[in-house]
């Protein structure tokens, strides 16, 4: 053992044995080693800095290692969100259906003499103001041309063309439409019809009214039942403005229909009614 003849090694070995034995013995006896205490105090700031840096690095690496988890969580939340959206859409549809059925029932109760065929709007004429639209009922359902079409709010128009399972409806602002109307407040009568110049504004005109007739802005107009298409007492609209016809001594009023034609998605076709 040549190594144990080396003086340097022997001194080192003695030091090492002391450094190992003293703390071990003190530790086993339940005392705290002074050397450990000193080392602990001296290295404490370094360890604090190292721990802080490690914590920061750990947090930084966690951010990246957590990306996969975040992706999976995001995917799951997306799916949940889609399912909830579907539920909401279904609920909205049911609510709409409920409203429609309530309106239909209301109309039935208001007009017990009417026989009605409920129909859904399946297409609209392109343009800023919808004046013609197509319903999903036709001759198969007993629909014929010139049948009046209404909604809960009032008169929409009449059936212009009929197919096997569809029909086209002209609204009251269309030029081909003419409805006999009256103002209940004053009893003034006339004809509501479409006008090219007014069509773009979504309004129609009330003409053929006697010059001395009492018509005011805000007056409500109802169908008079004159003619063979519309039953009496269906609300058409309100008077928006009143003027005189430039060519004869009659009054012409601008009428704002009560029905918002662009928002209709269902309507009722009157297949029969009792005319008083």
């Amino acid at each position: 053992m040549k190594i144990f003849q080396n003086k340097f090694f022997l001194i080192c070995l003695c030091v090492a044995i002391v450094l190992a034995a003293v703390p071990s013995t003190l530790s086993v006896m339940g005392f705290q080693s002074l050397s450990r205490n000193i080392v602990g105090v001296v290295t404490s700031p370094f360890r604090w800095v190292a721990t802080a840096v490690t914590g920061a690095v750990e947090g930084f690496s966690l951010y990246f290692s957590g990306v996969d988890r975040f992706y999976a969580e995001n995917e799951a939340l997306r799916e949940e969100n889609a399912a909830l959206r579907e539920q909401i859409e279904r609920a909205e549809l049911l609510e709409k259906e409920n409203e429609r059925l309530r309106a239909y029932l209301g109309m039935k109760q208001e007009h017990p003499d009417f026989t009605m065929e409920e129909a859904r709007v399946i297409s609209r004429e392109a343009g800023n103001y919808v004046t013609v639209f197509t319903l999903n009922k036709g001759t198969l359902h007993g629909i014929r041309a010139n049948m009046p079409v209404i909604v809960r709010e009032g008169l929409v128009g009449y059936v212009r063309e009929v197919g096997l399972n569809w029909c086209k409806v002209c609204t009251v602002i269309e030029t081909a439409t003419a409805v006999g109307a009256y103002v209940p407040r004053s009893g003034a009568t006339g004809i509501v019809s479409g006008d090219y110049s007014m069509k773009t504004e979504g309004v129609c005109k009330f003409s053929y009214v006697e010059g001395d007739a009492d018509i005011q802005v805000g007056d409500k107009l109802y169908s008079s039942g004159i003619g063979s298409i519309y039953p009496a007492d269906l609300l058409i609209g309100c008077v928006a403005s009143v003027g005189e016809d430039a060519y004869n001594r009659t009054v012409v009023a601008k009428i704002q229909p009560v029905v918002d034609f662009s928002a209709i998605d269902w309507a009722v076709i009157l297949t029969g009614y009792t005319q008083e």
Binding site: I3, F8, F9, C12, L13, V15, A16, I17, L19, A20, P23, S24, S27, V28, S33, S35, R36, V39, G40, T43, F46, R47, A50, T51, V53, T54, G55, E58
Partner: protein, 180 residues
């Protein structure tokens, strides 16, 4: 003559101080790194023995004296910072530092390939030290589990850290040698 002897002694003292300060700082830095950083991160669930790596590298590059002193300091420091109870690391690391330094001091043996066997034996020794500690603390348990979960990862990581320390510690020793 007395003047020359005095100059030689001053030079030797200065060199010793330089070595001591450099190796102390290195050991302190690695000790803090091992206890605070790697002890917290625990890659593969174990803590690699940086102190043993430092002892092996310094012994390999700077010879038995530097290796022995580094071994004592490293063993003492890591025990003081990181454990309680019975300790024998100063003696174990002293032996590693002195013996490895004695074998590696032969000229032409300081290449990377020559370093690898020392590192490999160091890693194996690390495994043996862990086994002894496990036996002292009655924590041997399932031998297969101990081997797979503790010994092999620990030896592997120690080996890896030793490889990573080869260059910086080699440079440090080269710098100190140049200032002779």
């Amino acid at each position: 003559m007395a003047k020359y002897v005095s100059g030689y002694r001053a030079q030797t003292r200065s060199r010793s101080i330089r070595y001591t300060v450099s190796f102390s700082l290195t050991v302190l830095l690695l000790g803090v790194l091992q206890v605070s950083v790697l002890g917290r991160l625990r890659p593969l669930g174990v803590v690699p023995d940086l102190m043993l790596c430092a002892t092996v590298a310094i012994a390999f590059f700077c010879g038995p004296h530097a290796g022995a002193i580094t071994g004592i300091g490293a063993g003492f420091l890591i025990e003081a910072m990181g454990s309680v109870g019975i300790t024998f690391l100063p003696v174990a690391y002293l032996l590693v530092g002195y013996v490895f330094g004695s074998y590696a001091k032969a000229p032409g043996r300081r290449s990377f390939l020559a370093y690898l066997p020392y590192l490999g034996i160091g890693a194996l020794l690390r495994g043996v030290i862990t086994l002894i500690y496990a036996a002292i603390h009655s924590a041997l348990g399932d031998p297969l589990r101990l081997l797979l979960r503790v010994l092999l990862p620990e030896m592997g990581l120690t080996l890896l850290c030793g490889l990573l320390l080869y260059l910086p510690l080699g440079l440090l020793c080269a710098l100190l040698e140049r200032k002779k």
